[in-house]
Symmetry: C2
Subunit: 312 residues, 2 copies
Amino acid sequence: MAEKNFADRLLDAVADKKTPLVVGLDPSYDLLPNAITGHKDFNDGSDVETAVDALLEYSTRVLKLVAPHVAAVKINSAFFEAYYWYGYEAFYSLVQEAAAHGLLVINDAKRADIGNSSERYAAGTLADPSFDSLDDLVGPDAVTVNPYMGSDSVAPFIQTAKEHGKGIFVLVRTSNSGAAEIQDLPMASGQPLYMHVAKLVESWGASSIGQRGYSAVGAVVGATNPAQLAELRRVMPSTLFLVPGLGAQGATPADVAKAFKSDGTGAIVNASRSIIYAYNDPKYKDVGTNWEKAIELALLDTKRQLAEALGQ
Amino acid sequence: MAEKNFADRLLDAVADKKTPLVVGLDPSYDLLPNAITGHKDFNDGSDVETAVDALLEYSTRVLKLVAPHVAAVKINSAFFEAYYWYGYEAFYSLVQEAAAHGLLVINDAKRADIGNSSERYAAGTLADPSFDSLDDLVGPDAVTVNPYMGSDSVAPFIQTAKEHGKGIFVLVRTSNSGAAEIQDLPMASGQPLYMHVAKLVESWGASSIGQRGYSAVGAVVGATNPAQLAELRRVMPSTLFLVPGLGAQGATPADVAKAFKSDGTGAIVNASRSIIYAYNDPKYKDVGTNWEKAIELALLDTKRQLAEALGQ
C-alpha cells in the first residue's frame, strides 16, 4: 500500500504536539511506583508473568499520560526481552496501545545481521505482522539499526520501512562513554569513523525523502559534544536525528539544540528515566503518591525547557 | 556458581566430537522439507502458530540428527523473532532440546546497547532464566555481540557470561559483502577498523582465560580473505574464532583453515544452509524423500572436508 512517508508522518505529529520531545519507555520492575508493585496483582517480581503484568500496567498508564503531549514514544526492546516471550508479547501489546492513542512508536531494538537475517529482523521489529491470526496488529513505526555490518545489513530494514510507510534510525554517534572507542576513531581520511557512517546514512536515505525534505532513514546521534552535533547536522541535511540521553544520561536542552536546523526541524529528542521515574525525583515530591502527576509534571517541564532552548 | 570456563567447555566438546564444525540453524518455513510442510499439522505457513510448530518440528529433528556429530549449534535468533513471541518461545524450546542432547548453543542474536540495556539483553539472550516459573530452563551457552557501541555496551554480556560459565562472540570482521564499507575502513594508524576491534576483543577476554588458553570472549571472523584471517589469528592469540559462511555463503574448508593455530585449535566453523537444506541439493538426490539422511550425509561430508583441510 502507498503509505505516507515516515519522516512526514513524524514531523506532522511533532508539529501537532508542538514539541520534538519523545518519551523513552525503559521500564524496570524495581523502579516502578509502589502503587503498582505493592498491589496484590503485581507484587511478585520473581514470577515472570506477574512482573510482565506489572510492566504492562505501568507502561500502559504512562502511554495514556504522555499521549496528549508528545508525538512518539521510544520503547526499549531490551527491557521486555529480559522477560523472554512474555516480555515480547507485552511489547507488542504496548505498540497496539500506543497506536490506539495516536502515538508513533520507535522500537529501540538496535538490530542488524547479514541480509537474509536482517529481513527477518525487519519483519519482527518493524513490519506490520502478515500472519492471518495477527493481521489486526500493527508493528512499530520505526526501529533502531546498528551499521557495523554495512549497507547490505541495513538495506532490508529500509526496504521494509518503504513498503510499510515506516522508518529506521541508524546508530551514528551514540551517547554512551564507550562509543568513543570505536565511533570516534580517526580514519586515514582524517575524519572520525562516525562521520563516515553519517555520510553512508545520508546516502541510504536518498530514495525515501518526503515532502518536508527528510528521509525515512534517520540517525541516532548523542548530544555529548555540541560541535560534533553541529557538524553532523551539516553533513546530513536530509536525515532526521534521534537524540537520546536528555536528562538522566546527562544531556541538557541546550546541548541538544545543535541537532536542529535554524527552522526548528531536524531532530527528535528522547528523555527516558528523568520522565518515567519522576516520582522518585525529590523535585516532584509534592505530588505525594500520585506518581502519574509527577510524570506529567516532569514531561511538561522538559517540554518547556526544550522549547526555550530551541527559541520556540 | 563456579562454572567451568566456556572456552574450555567448548573445546572439550570439539575434541570429543573430533570436529570444529558447528551447524547453523536458520530455518525458513518455505525451505522446509515437504514431509513437514505437507503434513496436515504443519501445512499453513500463513498461520503463525502453525508455522512455528513446523519450524520447531523440523529444528528438533535436525538437532537430534546432528547431536552425535558436532559440539554445538548456532541458532539464528532472527529466524525465530520473525514469528514474534511464538517464535521467541520456540527458540527457547530448542535451546532446552539442544541442551538435552548435550549440544552447546550459540545464540546468534547480534545484540548490544548502552550498559543498562545490554544488561537486559544479556539476561534475555544468554543467562539461565532467574524467574521462579522458568528456573528449570537453561539459556544459550553463548551469544553474538555487536561492538559498534564500545566496551561499556559489551561489558554486561561479559559479566553475565562469567557468572554463568558462558561466552560471547563479538563481531570483528563479518562475512557479508557490505562489511567492507565499515569494518575495512583504513584508520589513521594505517590499519583497518576491524584490526582495532580485534585488539579490543582480545583485551576484553584477558580476565576469562581458561585452562586451554582461550578466553570466554570470542570473535566472529569471516573467511572471505585468508591473509586477513591469518593476521587476525596472530593478533588474537587467546580468542576463539567463530567462522561463519562455510558452504552457502561461499567459504571453502581451505579458506577457513587460516583461522586455526598449528595445533589445530582456535576456531569453530559454522555451516548453515549447505547442511540444513541438503535435501534440496542435487548432490544428495539419491536419498529420495529421506531428508534427514541428506542432512546427515552433508554434515559428514563437510566434517570430512574440514578435517582434510586442517590436516586432521
